[in-house]
Symmetry: C2
Subunit: 685 residues, 2 copies
């Protein structure tokens, strides 16, 4: 559909009382204050206007085409209002009014949506704080008017959006559009992302969400947008307390934060946790077009603050490599000998314009970005230093962020730096944290371009399956030998095994598998086989095999005993696990971790929205700390991680081939230097 | 000594050129601008004065008593300047001049110190940014003049101090004193802490350090000060400075920043990492006298920002418990039904003065502190809400921090809140992070009061030892049987063991220890016994004992083979480790961790400056994640942690009883439900 009525309205009507203090009047005043240049009308039962804006009793009675309605009428009247809008040719409506699903009024919300549908009107809201389009001078919002610029903000929460706008105004961060979509009954983050991706006025998208509906549709829209321009996301409810609070706030469940984290990573969006971080990062994305690596150098005129920034740089994963001896030689040709030549490079309080310029130009040959710090004593003037920094930024075209302090002393320099495109931060730490996120966005963008992100993997699998799904083997419960056979057919390595339902067969099977071997009970009634005593390991000969079978059969008395499954005993393997579960927002997710109690103790797992490709599976393996155990820790033989990644890929596709699956675990998977095999499998339909 | 000359000077001389732009003149102008009320003189070779301040060619020639000299004369002249000061009766000097040890000029620095000593003058500096005493209106500093108040700042770095002062001025945080001690050749953080502890003008101490000399003296001074008033510390160089190069396993993980972290904890100081955090926390310490627990409630008028703050609260360890049903019933008697009644409590945009007041008063009955958030749309006025918040703070006397936003809209409210003693933060996240540190300080203070901190344990051990130390047993290397016997004598549990140097004895010893048992080689030339093949486990009978002895003796051919040591084989034990090493700043430190590769993989260790008492040892055990394995994880039997703590206490005292020890490891220690014993010991003299 075309969004012209919503985003390029030539005529706007504000629907709601124009009495002083009423929301309708506040909104109209905001629009007038913003100097909107299209046609503007007021509609309310009294037909009251305000200043030069004419009032009518209905949209229909205006008699001219109206594109956009801003609605602040009482909740119960809104379906009727939309019918009137339909008659007036309105194409889109922003419903500010609250009192819908956020308060339990789902029926009222349904009626609003129905009215919108039957009148062909797209809805933003209800329960929202309005919209802002700075380039059209259109400000039908309850919030502060931000300056014009390249950042578009989409916010589920109106108040949160308002805070961002206020901060943006204070810090001179220009905005293109603001859309507070509130309950999001029609337009929500997905369509807005799709629109903003191609919006020429928007070069950075900022997104605040508390909950989403269709996780996969969201991820596709997000990846699409993030491939075109940076997307900075705050997702509230990242802890249990936050999720509880979100549920009470919007009435929607926030969902597992780990899954959201994975979704952002797979889509190439950058996640931040606070508004401060969002503003810092948007400012930097506007200023710095790219960053091609992690190597950061700090150039300072003061040791202490430089060290604090370097500490933080190391903590956030930047490569704070020392300056090379050759480069130090170059620096020494123009810097005094008492300067510090490592990283941070300390020009000392005697740093000069030329010192900053030449030092930064020299270092940016070898580094991917720089932080320029200047702690200016009140008796000095930082403005020439600012010029040196800005010149170096122009010459080298790589990211340079500034930390000029203190504010009272360097106000002019900061303004100057800003004019020349260099953001200033209140501390070196904040600057380098932001740089780390900048680097991360570009790194992920490169990875997705080269290896694919969520969308490519998901679309490829869908076209491969083409709606053809299968039934799982077995009855209500899948027995272990059935499950193992099924995994083997799917290309997931399982050990050789035998199924035996009498003692003689079991003894022969043990011998043919080879001693020592393992025997496990098979019964649909016995799930936790080890706890039940249904697993016997270390069977060394035919006698022990006979005894093992008898023991298991005896223990299983009174249960539906189907027999035993026999495996060779695996020695010296590293144990890992794979899990699948179905997230309410995102559908199937895949989990990788080390086997055993340490996974639980240290929560050392990685998670992705399924399916994943080989590169993503390798990422999953590598982002756990325990990957070292697979890489030949302390002289042990290294495992074949490619083979493990292949298994993760296949496993991640299973829930789409077999939609009955609700949960599945391969735990343990035995990983040996040259092969791997599933040790146990559990499937819940 | 008395610090009167330094801290209460009745007459001050500035020594250094009074030509325009020279440091001496900048300093004098700063003092004049500050309206210092004592006598003021200038001394320089020309005898030049400035404005009303008379100039002399020497301090001696002033002819009146001068207490304090501010010295900006060239480095090489300073010993002579100090001799002149001595003649003029000067008691203390602040040496601003740089060009000493920070540039390799150690000889010059030594001469300054010698001159100071022979003239009985205490020195602040050299290479410092001066001092500030707001209540005396004395500002001989290069930095911005902060307002008067209760925070004293001690900073090793002048520039860093300057930044803090500038921020303090901007945010209206009042300072009592600022001392930049630079190279600290005489007065440093230790004496300054001792002085400020009893300074009636100072209620909070802020400290920035990069390095210290005597760690134990520092910790004692720090604990002493922190028991009297909050001490907030920034220690720079936390990622890569001062890392010791030691091959020792536990030593290498106990990088020196960990030791600082432990030292702050043991002394009751609060560590922060950034200047922003320091300012936030000092502001809060001034406003809130105490905090008696971790339960925090958020009262907001806006869902989104409330959720973000709640998320952060949970992450920083605050107890964001839900509001009890009884309390919700109370809230419902005066709040509208559409409010959110969990935690955060959401008054919605319709929140009122009375709503804030009554809600906070009600909740602070059950919570230890509150965050009051108010996100004010531009068409509303937050000032009545601010009044409600401030009233509740007055009534309840518990910490209340505010997050009123946006600045442009709530400026008057924020000013009002400040006047009534409530700090406002730029985000709810920043507010709750600060609250977490406030809570942490008071919690630690209570613990140290009840169970003792570093000083008590250290002093008690010193008086117990009273200088009586012992020699370690053995020669250059301590053999395992000697070490085990020695540990047993020290009260550290070791398993039963036998030492045998011939085969027959070894076989008998194995039998008397009981099968299965373990046999280990004893040789001063074999350190890594396992790697050498010198450890044989699972010896089941006399035959195997004979074979084991033969194998070990054969492998040890060509080495200085002394025999074997025999232990019972321990089964089902959890393995932990203890390590001792000597830190260059702090001396002996003790490390506790889980045994095995997971300790290294997850760096799950705890560290303390030795010695520790029982309570501190329990803290060490409990702060590791793997403590769960000792507490009966997944149905396993729980271990006796008290017994383990006793062992840590004894072990932590060893380096003081035996000063030869450079490093020691007990690794593994077998921990069983009812007992524990050392499995192996390694001592480096």
């Amino acid at each position: 559909m075309s969004f012209d009525a919503l985003f390029y309205p030539k005529a706007v009507v504000v629907i709601g009382s124009q009495s002083a203090g009423k929301l309708g009047n506040v909104l109209l005043k905001q629009i007038i204050k913003g100097r909107y240049e299209g046609n503007l009308y007021a509609v309310n039962p009294k037909g009251q206007g305000y200043e030069n804006v004419p009032g009518f009793q209905s949209v229909e009675s205006i008699g001219k085409k109206v594109d956009l309605a801003i609605i602040a009428a009482p909740a119960a009247t809104i379906p009727g209002v939309l019918d009137d809008c339909g008659k007036g040719g309105v194409g889109a409506a922003v419903v500010i009014t609250s009192g819908f699903s956020e308060m339990g009024n789902h029926e009222g919300e349904k009626q609003v949506l129905e009215a919108a549908r039957r009148n062909g009107i797209r809805i933003v809201g209800p329960n929202c704080a309005g919209i802002v389009y700075t380039s059209h001078k259109l400000y039908p919002t309850l919030e502060i008017h931000p300056p014009e610029g390249g950042v578009a903000l989409i916010s589920q929460s109106g108040a949160l959006g308002g805070v961002v706008l206020a901060w943006a105004e204070e810090q001179g961060l220009g905005m293109s559009k603001f859309v507070s979509y509130g309950n999001g009954i029609d337009l929500n983050q997905v369509e807005l992302l799709r629109y903003l991706k191609d919006d020429p006025e928007t070069s950075v998208i900022a997104l605040y969400i508390e909950s989403i509906k269709d996780g996969r549709e969201f991820m596709e829209a997000l990846q699409d947008a993030a491939s075109a321009k940076p997307v900075v996301v705050i997702k509230a409810g990242r802890t249990n307390v936050g999720q509880r609070a979100t549920a009470s706030h919007t009435g929607s469940m926030a969902g597992s934060d780990n899954v959201y984290e994975a979704a952002f990573k797979q889509s190439g969006a950058v996640r931040v946790n606070t508004i401060e971080e969002m503003i810092d990062l948007c400012t930097t994305f506007i200023a710095c077009k790219s960053m091609d690596g992690d190597r950061v150098v700090i150039v300072t005129n003061s040791g202490g603050p430089g060290v604090l920034a370097a500490d933080r740089g190391e903590e956030v994963g930047m490569d704070m490599a020392e300056v090379s001896p050759e480069m130090i030689d170059t620096l020494k040709t123009f810097l005094p000998p008492f300067c510090g030549f490592k990283n941070p490079v300390d020009l000392t309080v005697e740093g000069t314009e030329e010192g900053y310029r030449k030092t930064l130009v020299t270092l940016l040959e070898a580094y991917d970005a720089a932080i320029a710090m200047n702690i200016c004593p009140p008796y000095l003037d930082a403005s020439s230093h600012a010029k040196g920094v800005a010149d170096a930024f122009d010459i080298m075209g790589k990211p340079v962020l500034a930390n000029f302090l203190p504010n009272q002393v360097v106000a002019d320099s900061v303004k100057y730096l800003k004019e020349r495109g260099i953001p200033n931060f209140p501390s070196g730490e904040r600057a380098i944290e932001t740089l780390a996120r900048l680097s991360d966005y570009h790194k992920r963008k490169r990875i997705i371009k080269e290896h694919g992100g969520f969308s490519e993997v998901w679309q490829k699998l869908q076209s491969k399956i083409a709606g053809q799904t299968s039934k799982l083997p077995g009855g209500e419960r899948i027995l272990e030998p059935e499950a193992m056979g099924w995994l083997r057919d799917l290309g997931i390595p399982v050990p050789e095994f035998r199924f035996a339902n009498d003692e003689a067969q079991a003894i022969d099977d043990c011998e043919s598998i080879g001693f020592p071997c393992v025997m496990k009970v098979v019964s649909p009634q016995i799930i936790h086989k080890s706890e039940f005593g249904g697993v016997i390991v270390g069977i060394k000969n035919r006698d022990e095999a006979a005894k093992a079978f008898q023991t298991i059969r005896k223990r299983a008395e009174g249960k539906d005993f189907r027999g035993v499954v026999i495996y060779p005993q695996i020695k010296g393997a590293q144990e890992v696990l794979l899990g699948l579960s179905v997230d309410p927002q995102f559908g199937p997710v895949v989990v990788f971790g080390l086997g055993g109690i340490y996974t639980e103790l240290f929560k050392d797992i990685s998670i992705r929205v399924a399916p994943v490709n080989h590169h993503q599976a390798m990422e999953m393996i590598r982002e756990t700390k325990s990957v070292k155990l697979l890489q030949g820790f302390r002289g042990a033989a290294a495992s074949d991680l490619d083979m493990l990644a292949d298994t993760i890929v296949r496993f991640s596709e299973i829930p789409f081939l077999y939609p009955e699956i609700k949960e599945a675990d391969l735990n343990p998977i035995f990983v040996l230097p040259d092969r791997l095999m599933v040790g146990d499998v559990r499937i819940i339909k």
